[in-house]
């Protein structure tokens, strides 16, 4: 018998319909984008060629989708089998998050009908960090699909196929650890080439890939804690606090490492004055740092880790911290020079909101109809 079960229950609920409305609004503006061009729905310009479609959907979105990656490392590399029950929901969220990232990349591509050039060896520019990100994210989406395949095969009782797949799955799992390490670090490397436009507090040059992958990893663990806490509330399931608090310990170590490197770089390069400059960048830096420090302090004490509420708050703070780190570096404190400013247009925001709504709708549908959630003894009827 599988360790997992579908949650069951009605798929079309009130929240589901609400998400559906958001999705339709998003799709409307998306159609507008493809018919009338990106200028019709976005505020992109010559100095800000990347807006929220890149920075949220891809840069932040894929980091938020690192739950599958973080858990795969824990379970399969560090051999902590006790976390296994969390892995399927995490993989599903990762698949959807990366799917959103891939979709975001296509809709943001000004010449999307020529996207295939990315996969033609004779067109590839191996100096390009963007090439690495593009290929690696595409490959990882395929890997996530295969990693999630057992759930689908189980649902349709394709046992022979499932057995065969399980025999080779270890290679796919290994790839599923390697690929996010590669492209998540590259998302940081991308900032190097943006040079002087990136504010000095975020322009860490050689340290960019390390900081990017550290925060992606921390966000991955935090999203698992967040989803775990939320689904125990939302679906009235027994909380998995004992498992989640263990992840809390890992998060503490990661945040501490991150902060040491981050502040070490600022001290060594003599940028401490910028932290207290009293301008927008220094304010954003302080907020960002506070969001990193809060979960560190809370999760350092065993009491904070074992309390479901404080665990949830810490996870949310960490997610906001990693999100703000990326937003600050790529958009908020980015300065391409005089004459250029950017704030997303409402239709632009609605496209992103719509895509996230679709992502959540698919998640709800799949956990209710496919064996994704860990089996528990006294599951009350879900009613979300």
């Amino acid at each position: 018998m599988s360790h997992y079960q579908p949650l069951g229950g009605r798929v079309v609920t009130l929240p589901f319909v609400f998400l559906g409305v958001l999705a339709l609004i998003g799709l409307y503006y998306l159609a507008d984008r493809f018919i009338n061009g990106m200028g019709a729905v976005t505020n992109l310009n010559g100095g800000f060629p990347w807006g929220i479609w890149v920075v949220y959907d891809i840069v932040v979105g894929t980091a938020l989708a690192c739950g599958g990656y973080a858990l795969a490392v824990t379970v399969y590399i560090f051999n902590k089998g006790q976390y296994h029950p969390l892995i399927r929901p995490a993989l599903l969220a990762s698949l959807l998050g990366y799917g959103l990232g891939g979709l975001g990349a296509i809709i943001d591509m000004g010449r999307w009908w020529q996207f295939y050039n990315l996969f033609l060896p004779w067109q590839m520019n191996f100096n390009s960090v963007m090439l690495e990100v593009g290929l690696c994210v595409s490959a990882y989406i395929v890997v996530l699909m295969i990693e999630f395949l057992p759930t689908v095969l189980e649902k349709f009782k394709a046992e022979a196929l499932l057995k065969k797949l399980n025999k080779v799955l270890f290679i796919v799992i290994a790839l599923g650890v390697l690929l996010p390490t590669m492209h998540q670090s590259s998302l940081g490397t991308m900032l190097i080439a943006m040079g002087w436009k990136v504010h000095p507090l975020w322009q860490t040059l050689h340290l960019q890939p390390l900081l990017a992958v550290l925060t992606a990893f921390t966000m991955g663990f935090s999203i698992v804690v967040f989803e775990g806490s939320l689904s125990s509330v939302g679906f009235r399931r027994k909380p998995e606090t004992h498992l989640l608090s263990g992840l809390g310990k890992i998060i503490v170590g990661l945040i501490a490492t991150y902060l040491v490197i981050r502040f070490g770089e600022i001290l060594v390069r003599g940028k401490l004055g910028l932290v207290f400059a009293g301008d927008l960048a220094s304010l954003m830096f302080l907020i960002e740092t506070a969001l990193f420090v809060y979960p560190l302090v809370v999760l350092m004490s065993p009491r904070g880790r074992e309390n479901a509420r404080s665990l949830l708050f810490a996870a949310v703070s960490m997610l906001l911290a990693g999100t703000l780190y990326r937003f600050n570096a790529f958009l908020i404190t980015l300065d391409p020079g005089p004459g250029y400013s950017y704030f997303p247009a409402l239709p632009e925001i609605m496209v992103t909101v719509g895509l996230v709504a679709i992502e959540i709708m698919v998640f709800l549908f799949v956990v209710k109809t496919f064996p994704v959630m860990p089996r528990e003894d006294h599951a009350p009827a879900p009613n979300v």
Binding site: L91, M130, V177, G195, L210
Partner: protein, 322 residues
């Protein structure tokens, strides 16, 4: 080696590789062997914008019209319909030309044709190319995917995307040498240099232009100099003019590896809107990091091998499924 040692070693190695020490970063690229470019002398520019007009004619682009001002091109900045623009610097009462205070000056904006171009380095599909001989940076819309990474990688915000068109593409100055125009290949010069009445925009080889720029630095202010027009190597004509107070700075000689389009001026370049660049190109750093991590895919291959071994071991232990 047990599993713990392996993990420790590989984590340490990964961290070292990701922060990559900078040891293997490549130096800046050097100028192409027969690099061609332009020299813009801000002190000679009278702001007539003949170059803006000529550029649009050569490149078959529409004039930019703002409001009722229909008699001349009124483009304010680079855009999908303007590859070359003249901008004005003013301070206080703009009375004296080329004076920092209570003065004004003109500045040309167009692709600088970097020696170590950011756009070329970051483009995933090789849509932007630095010509191996002339150093001219050209764009191929046929392969471009429109990701606009070139715009983020350009220190001068030169490449411009046409957001208003669902089939839009990127626009940048290709030194009048793109397919179908090929003025340089045919032995001609750029439209802007050809049309410039004062020789503020000069065409020529990068070496000859740099020599000319350095010569002007050495002239005494007030001294009469015979300024060339057109191609610096074989000027179409000359005119005599008193030498202004030049800043002792050839923009593009060294900035971020240098540029083939260079500027000289009486006004410090930061006041003319030039970006804060050091001598090192940022893409030389990012390529260094990229190639440290992905040289021959050796590191990823080794890591994948280790990971596969660990996962195999750990899944066999428990007979787990996913």
């Amino acid at each position: 080696m047990n599993r713990r040692d392996f993990l420790r070693a590989s984590l340490g190695g990964a961290a070292a590789a990701l922060s990559s020490g900078g040891a293997s970063a490549r130096p800046n690229l050097t100028p192409a062997p027969e690099a061609v470019g332009m020299l813009f002398d801000s002190t000679l520019c009278v702001g007539c914008k003949a170059c803006v007009s000529a550029c649009k004619e050569v490149n078959d682009m529409p004039p930019t019209v703002l409001g009722d001002d229909v008699q001349y091109d009124s483009a304010r900045d680079l855009s999908h319909e303007t590859l070359n623009v003249i901008k004005v610097y003013t301070n206080g009462q703009p009375i004296t030309k080329d004076s920092v205070t209570d003065g004004f000056a003109f500045e040309k904006r167009s692709c600088m044709h970097c020696v170590d171009p950011g756009c070329v380095s970051v483009c995933p599909v090789t849509a932007l190319i630095r010509h191996p001989v002339t150093g001219i940076v050209t764009y191929d819309a046929e392969v471009c995917i429109g990701c606009r990474t070139c715009m983020t990688g350009c220190p001068y915000n030169v490449p411009q995307f046409d957001y208003g068109n669902p089939w839009g593409m990127l626009y940048k100055c290709q030194m009048c040498n793109q397919k179908g125009v090929e003025r340089i290949d045919k032995g001609g010069m750029t439209g802007c240099a050809e049309s410039c009445p004062t020789g503020a925009t000069l065409f020529g080889s990068r070496a000859a232009l740099l020599e000319e720029a350095r010569r002007r630095m050495t002239l005494q202010p007030g001294e009469i100099y015979n300024y060339p027009r057109g191609d610096v190597r074989e000027p179409s004509s000359h005119h005599e003019k008193a030498v202004p107070h030049y800043q002792q700075h050839v923009w593009g000689e060294k900035e971020a590896g240098g540029t083939n389009v260079m500027h000289i001026s009486s006004i410090p370049f930061d006041k003319l809107g030039m970006p804060p660049l050091g001598e090192r190109s940022h893409v030389s750093i990012s390529e260094g990091v990229q190639h440290t991590l992905y040289s021959y895919m050796a590191l990823p291959a080794v890591v994948l091998g280790g990971l596969t071994w660990l996962v195999k071991r750990n899944t066999d232990d428990e007979g787990d499924d996913v």
